[in-house]
Amino acid sequence: MSNGIVSRLKRKKIEEVVKTGKRMDGRDLLQYRDLQIKTRFLEKPEGSAEVKLGKSHVVVGVKSGIGTPFEDSPDEGVMMVNAEYTPIAHPTWEPGPPPDEAVELARVVDRGLRAAKVLSMEDLGLVSGEKVQMVYVDLYIINFDGNLIDACSAGALAALNTAELPEFKVTKGAVSSTDKTKKLKLRAHPIAVTLVKIGSEFIVDATADEEEVMDGRITITLDENNNVNAIQKSGPVGFTVDEIKKCINIASEKAVEIRAKVMASV
């Protein structure tokens, strides 16, 4: 991500400011940018949310469909999380198949939801081994300014919270649609909080510039009982066990704050 001198100067500047306990944009180290969540703003998907986190802007659509279950869980629905880095979102993002970062983003959001058992997959079965309801969660990045995991994770939870899935009836193995819909019931409300390490300091909600110069990153996803559901460390740096502990503590506090905003939006 670095291109030599420019990047090193930027790094130096950001690191120096962070050492003073502040950020380039005036925030405290552990302060999020303004978080706006709007739900139910799309008509085609079963659930939707628009999240603006500073200048990061994502749209999450939840759509259902009918598909085939996995071999080892013939009676369970299938959730698929997919992230799309649209080329409008950043000058360096190009049309084409998702880059590795988009794959990681989708998988980290997916893992948080799955680990927390947000959906009752067994309620989404239709014909054993043949047909189940699919729940697609599409993370659509409209403008990129860092911290996509937290923005998308909040957006996915908000969109799922507002989703109303079509109800089907099964008669002798044949699936037919009723005209009714049913609110998707969520069993947990996991929130991802990502900390970024720059020098020896940790910050939350990093901007694109901060991510560009960061040493490493750790995402901790927690549910409303303060249980940890998922962790993802990335970046070419190590953390001590103490640092990990510290990050879990910070994440645990921040998750409460973000969850409140998500739940207020639905």
Binding site: K44, P45, K63, E84, P87, I88, I142
Partner: protein
């Protein structure tokens, strides 16, 4: 449903959403919506929700696609998986490829590409929600985004479909009219030059209907043109201050080649009056 449809034309025919035959759906355009893009616009046209982002002029990668004597305009029309029902794959379809091509052809006449040798201007359009007429709505947003990027333009490009539904020519088809109607004709237009820069059509119409349909669509484009300019007003003001009144005006002067006088006549008589009365 079919009963209703049969009865309706009898006396007080009206469109499924109550519009008149030559009435546009509600349109809302906003420019400068994307912090990262050089230019951008958001459009709601009926239930379409579309964002256009412009990057460039900038260096082209891969270089072999660039042209030594002029810039290249690249367009990409893309639908979000959740923009339609049922969900679609994010991989581009053949339809997307074609629309991207016709969008490029329809926007290019408005630009001075000869000023940007070896460069590219990228116009990316993301359909967040699709109603009928996504390509026209996309063009409207793209034109505003290009202007928002400060890229000099000969004129804006305005787009609107017309078509035939239950035997009548109508303007700006909604999704249902698009799918169930007899024909659909998306049109883009540069009002200053009276030039149609996008024209597609599919369906069954007599030659007379076809010609009338073009005129109806062009009229729609002219209305949209005003809405686009409105959305750009603040931006224009800023540009004028920066670049000086003269330069800004000069850029919107018609080029010598197209001759607006010739085309004047059909455009003035293009009210489909007989339809309007029903």
């Amino acid at each position: 449903m079919s009963k209703q449809r049969k009865r309706k034309p009898a006396k007080t025919w009206e469109r499924i959403d109550g519009r008149k035959h030559d009435e546009l759906r509600p349109i809302h355009i906003e420019s400068g919506v994307l912090p990262n893009a050089d230019g951008s616009a958001y459009i709601e046209m009926g239930r379409n929700k579309i964002i256009a982002g412009v990057y460039g002029p900038r260096e082209m990668h891969p270089k072999r696609l660039s042209k030594p004597n002029m810039g290249v305009l690249r367009c990409r029309y893309h639908m979000a998986p959740f923009s339609v029902d049922p969900r679609r794959s994010p991989a581009p379809s053949r339809r997307d490829t074609e629309i991207s091509m016709v969008m490029r052809d329809c926007l290019e006449p408005a630009l001075f590409l000869e000023r940007y040798p070896r460069s590219v201007i990228d116009v990316f359009v993301e359909i967040i929600q699709a109603d009928g007429g996504t390509r026209c709505a996309s063009i409207n947003a793209a034109a505003v985004a290009l202007a928002d990027a400060g890229i000099p333009m000969k004129d804006l490009v305005s787009a609107c479909a017309a078509g035939k539904y239950e035997g009548r020519l109508i303007l700006d088809l909604g999704d249902y009219e698009d799918k169930k109607g007899e024909s659909d004709m998306p049109v883009a237009y540069m009002p200053k030059f009276e030039q149609v820069t996008l024209l597609q059509m599919e369906g069954i119409m007599t030659r007379e209907e076809t010609e009338e349909c073009v005129r109806l669509a062009v009229d729609g484009c002219k209305k949209i043109y005003e809405i686009q300019k409105e959305a750009l007003k603040k931006k224009y003001a800023a540009v004028r201050e920066e670049a000086g009144q003269v330069a800004a005006e000069a850029e919107f002067e018609p080029e010598p080649e197209p001759e607006p006088e010739e085309a004047e006549e059909p455009t003035t008589e293009d009210e489909p009056t007989e339809d309007e009365e029903q």
